[in-house]
């Protein structure tokens, strides 16, 4: 998995920004060197020594002022033109029909693929090598979608859909985060972007479209019954079962995902047990309350949910 850095671009959009950063970085470094050099020169050469009087009183020089107003102005003009070009390259206009609609919730991400009908959470699969148009929405407060390696960040604003492009040169998994403060669990609003070969992506999409299978085994079946009888189904959807609510993440293929609780833990059966026992201990403030399930209920639910591949 790639590690969330802006210095390792993996898409044409991110690379456009990175190249501008290099150019701007060189300009800034030169300016810093020149001005800091002036200051350090003064500090070294213009020290007062015991017994010296005051130096010649120079109060200014209009030519010098003109020069150091003009040069920065030219730099600014150059940077402006570069910014303009990079804006177009890294953030082209959106298509009318987005490939993925991503909705920020307190504190998880929902991803809907309007063309195929796939709905998932916190794990966004994309085919490598293809630019995808993403629409960003919010279900509650501001969030911000940021995967530094593959594109710009963009806020999700309630009532104001935004659009960006993401793309990955090659198959790879990226970590993404929410970068706009959004309340208690802003820190754990991670997600994964999984870039796959087009064939793998299609296979994934097909698998995601399938409804959940009826589980095998008494414990898992009891878990499903429990899921459908208790508050679980007030918030979650599992296609192929009675649960169809859209408040929390869709769990139809939960067990196929790599992270739990929007990145707070790896999605392992042990972590799922801990989560079901009391989610508030793992992710304090998360909207899912502590249902105080008994040990055996937790086992049944875990067994059921682990079948949701």
């Amino acid at each position: 998995m790639n590690a969330l850095t802006v210095l390792d671009p993996q898409s044409p959009q991110a690379r456009a920004i990175f190249h501008l950063a290099i150019v701007a970085g060189i300009i800034f470094a030169v300016i810093f060197a020149v001005v800091a050099g002036m200051i350090v020169y003064a500090l070294m050469r213009c020290r007062w020594r015991e017994g010296e009087g005051d130096p010649k009183q120079v109060a200014g020089n209009k030519t010098v002022e003109l020069v150091w107003t003009t040069i920065p102005f030219l730099i600014v003009v150059a940077l402006f033109v570069l910014s303009w070009r990079t804006m177009n390259a890294s953030d082209p206009p959106p298509t009318p029909e987005p490939d993925i609609v991503i909705t920020g919730h307190q504190w998880w991400w929902e991803a809907r693929y309007p063309k195929s009908g796939v709905v998932t959470a916190n794990e966004i699969h994309i085919p490598a090598g293809t630019p995808l148009s993403i629409r960003l929405e919010s279900a509650d407060v501001l969030h911000e979608f940021w995967v530094p390696e593959i594109g710009r960040k963009m806020t999700t604003v309630p009532g104001h859909p935004n659009n960006i492009w993401i793309e990955s040169d090659h198959p790879q998994t990226y970590l993404g985060v929410c970068s706009e403060f959004c309340g208690t669990e802003h820190a754990w609003m991670h997600f994964l972007v999984v870039a796959e070969t087009p064939a793998e992506f299609q296979a994934w999409e097909q698998a995601q479209l399938a409804p959940a299978q009826t589980p095998i085994g008494a414990s898992a079946l009891q878990g499903r019954a429990l899921f459908q009888q208790t508050s679980c189904m007030n918030c979650h959807a599992i296609k192929g079962s009675l649960a169809s609510a859209g408040v929390g993440p869709d769990l139809t293929h939960f067990a196929s995902r790599k992270i739990l609780g929007a990145g707070v833990a790896a999605n392992t059966p042990e972590n799922l047990r801990r989560w079901l026992t009391n989610p508030q201990l793992i992710k304090p403030g998360v909207k899912m309350p502590d249902y105080k399930f008994t040990e055996s209920q937790v086992t049944q639910l875990t067994d059921y949910i682990e079948t949701l591949k």
């Binding site: 920004i17 213009c46 010296e52 109060a59 600014v76 104001h160 970068s179």
Partner: protein, 742 residues
């Protein structure tokens, strides 16, 4: 407690006859020097609070997956840290320095309005207490210092923390406007005659320019806070969907918020412009350019706010406008940096503590300015926004420039205030601890941001490099804490045992060094002649005085009457407030929503009442003419007419409200009614305030106060009253007439 009195007396800030009632002497003071010290002491107290919050943040982030603080606690801590450091530390300390120094630098006996000065100051501690009271009310705000809607709205922050936050910022905002109206009036009206505008010391000049920025920007925040409170307390939805707009809050907040950055930076520029020349033993290089670039910065800073919003989706066109304006501001800022550097070149630099802090501030600000330009380049901001790279950038401005400049200034001017020198040895200790700690803490954070660390996360996974970089940053923060302790220790020790400073320990050149340390009540026994920008240089170097800075005729001798000046400044300030409300009305009434709209208002009825209000502008003008012609009875008659017309207007507005209320219209019925009641209601409130002022005037006139001519109170209230009428011209056009044609 008599020890404190003894210490205060020893340090010269308490006269012997005040020893018995020293607490009252300070609580009730209207002396600008004492108020300045009170401001700074208040700032110091809140600096301790905000500093402890900073250390808590750094302790929590020292290691990955930390569980030291509950997430909600962490969110409260960083919200309070930001709010405290900006509104209760940076602003009070800078205003305090200005309060102390500006009247001295211009040869004035005090601020133009000593009681307004005391009032403005006391709003700071009370605003601060109000803010911190939220801890007792179920929790401090946990929304970040810019309280982005809709997180700051009731559905997502249901406890009263945000209400306390908004109320306290309103209180502090009013105090800031009061203080800065006072700075404007002081600089313009209380200068000693020889201190022409072109001879002003740069610190005073920058405080003067900055004051305009304060009185323009703070009311914008006040308008936004009022709207947020109406949302929260009266269940409206300015910033909530459906209908309202979260982005509107960002526009309003940053239209204040970016000027605010300069509001605390420009005084720091002024400090560097004072101290660097003195310790380089040369005049400032390019005085006119340093002074002029300040004006340019102040102007431009009003038009750059949306560079805080490059990632909310305003579109490339809007983004590009703000890319351009934000980059332009780098030019006057760069001019300043280069002039400070050029001042040092060819000088004989004395490396005393004040200068050390200023050199560090200059170099750190150079870096902060360059990372600032990188944020103005929108595509780069699309990556680094809201990351620790941004956190590092603005701490380089707020701490690297402003705190360092303040520390330099305190080492420079405390000897003037107390009459005793600070210890150079301790000063250098605190300087080096501060430089090392600051750069450890914040240089590291640039790299953390590039490594993808988002701001405001209460903990983080153990990603490559994050753990050790955060640990370095935390250790650096404790170096800064140590530096602060050494500084406070230095202050205490010097107050008690410091060497006597004498009038002018640094051989500086501005007027504050021409009086005793500390200066006597009303500051000067006699003023030296002033023919240039460095009067004390001219005295010390009669063989090579500075060239005479002449007067360019009337504009430079400009010395307006102080009551008129202050009321004019107040009107500028209020225009900002009403400007936001009027723009908000236009924006919100364009959003179609069910329920009442502007077309349902009774134009004819309001038109009739409006005529009364407009007529009252005429009557108050007649009253002024009466005063001018010494016809007292006539003046009183016209005053009464004005008051009656004002009351008719308010009666009309009340009737209109009552009528609407009876037909079921409430503040929160829809966006039209919310913005209608907000705009007309605040106008009505201003009319009521005007009526109270007029009634007081009437009482004074009857009692005979108006016998002294000219009677500035009538002129001032008259100006205010005309302003209220002019605002109503806009409100009437926008609310009642314009919708008819749409």
């Amino acid at each position: 407690m008599s020890e404190i009195a003894a210490v205060l007396q020893r340090t010269g800030i308490l006269s012997p006859e005040e020893r018995e009632h020293w607490k009252m002497a300070w609580l009730s003071t209207v002396d600008h020097k004492r108020i300045g010290i009170l401001y700074m002491m208040t700032g110091l107290v809140f600096f301790v609070v905000g500093g402890i919050e900073a250390l808590l943040i750094r302790l929590q982030l020292a290691v990955p997956n930390s569980t030291l603080l509950h997430p909600d606690t962490y969110n409260m801590v960083f919200t309070m840290h930001g709010t405290t450091m900006i509104f209760l530390v940076a602003m009070p300390v800078l205003f305090g320095l200005a309060n102390y120094i500006v009247p001295l630098q211009i040869g004035a006996r005090d601020m133009a309005f000593p009681r307004l000065n005391a009032y403005s100051f006391w709003l700071v501690p009370f605003g601060g207490i109000l803010l911190h009271f939220s801890f007792l009310s179920g929790g401090a705000p946990a929304v970040g210092w810019f309280a982005y809607a809709p997180l700051s709205e009731t559905p997502y922050s249901s406890q009263s923390g945000v209400d306390y936050w908004a109320l306290s910022l309103l209180v502090l905002g009013i105090g800031s406007v009061g203080a800065n109206i006072n700075f404007i009036a002081t600089v313009l009206c209380s200068r000693t005659p020889q201190m022409t505008l072109r001879r002003l010391p740069l610190f005073t000049w920058m405080i003067f320019v900055n004051a305009f920025l304060v009185i323009l920007a703070l009311p914008v925040l006040n308008a936004g806070l009022v709207m947020l409170l109406i949302d929260r307390l009266l269940h409206a939805h300015f910033f909530l969907v459906p209908g309202g707009s979260a982005i509107m809050w960002q526009h309003i907040f940053w239209a204040f918020g970016h000027p605010e950055v300069y509001i605390v930076a420009i005084p720091a520029f002024g400090l560097l412009s004072e101290i660097i020349p003195v310790f380089s033993r040369k005049p400032i290089f390019g005085y006119e350019f340093v002074a002029g670039s300040t004006v340019a910065i102040a102007f431009l800073s009003l038009g750059v706010w949306a560079h805080h919003m490059f990632t909310v989706g305003l579109g490339h066109t809007v983004d590009l406008f703000f890319v351009a304006s934000s980059m332009l501001i780098a030019i006057p800022t760069g001019v300043k940096v280069l002039n400070w550097s050029a001042t040092m070149i060819g000088g004989r630099i004395h490396f005393d503590t004040p200068m050390l802090f200023c050199i560090a501030a200059l170099l750190q600000f150079l870096l902060a300015g360059l990372t600032g330009v990188s944020h103005a380049v929108a595509p780069l901001d699309w990556q680094t926004k809201n990351s620790y790279y941004l956190v590092a950038h603005f701490h380089f401005v707020f701490v690297g420039l402003i705190v360092f400049a303040i520390l330099g200034a305190l080492h420079y001017w405390v000897p003037k205030m107390s009459g005793r020198l600070l210890s150079e040895r301790l000063g250098k200790w605190s300087f080096w601890l501060m430089v090392i700690g600051f750069n450890m803490t914040f240089i590291t954070q640039h790299f953390l941001g590039l490594a993808g660390m988002a701001r405001r996360i209460y903990t983080y996974a153990d990603l490559p490099g994050w753990g050790w970089m955060n640990m370095v940053s935390t250790v650096g923060a404790f170096f800064m804490a140590a530096a602060s302790l050494v500084f406070v220790w230095n202050l205490v020790v010097s107050l008690l045992f410091g060497e006597k400073a004498g009038n002018n320990p640094w051989n500086a050149w501005t007027l504050e060094w021409a009086t005793t340390s500390p200066p006597p009540h009303e500051n000067f026994r006699a003023l030296p002649p002033i023919t240039s920008r460095r009067p004390l240089w001219d005295i010390a170097n009669p063989d090579r005085p500075d060239p005479v800075v002449g007067s360019r005729g009337k504009a430079d001798q400009f010395k307006p009457e102080k009551n008129k000046t202050s009321i004019a400044s107040f009107i500028i300030s209020e225009s900002g407030f009403f400007g936001v409300l009027i723009l908000a009305f236009l924006y919100y009434t364009a959003i179609p929503e069910a329920g009442p709209n502007a077309k349902g208002l009774d134009v004819l009825q309001t038109g009739l009442f409006s005529i009364c209000l407009f007529a009252s502008s005429f009557t108050i003008w007649r009253a002024e003419t009466g005063l001018h012609n010494n016809q007292r009875r006539r003046m009183i008659g016209w005053l009464i007419a004005t008051i009656v017309l004002g009351f008719i207007f308010i009666g009309g507005q009340t009737f209109e409200y009552w009528h609407l209320f009876r037909s079921g219209v409430r503040v929160n019925t829809n966006l039209f009614t919310t913005s209608f009641f907000t705009l007309t209601g605040f106008h009505g409130l201003h009319v009521c305030v005007g009526l109270i002022a007029l009634l007081i005037l009437l009482g004074l006139a009857v009692a005979g106060d108006s016998k002294k001519r000219p009677w500035p109170a009538l002129v001032a209230v008259g100006l205010y009253w005309h302003f209220v009428d002019v605002v109503w011209v806009f409100v009437l056009s926008v609310v009642y007439i314009l919708p008819r044609f749409l």
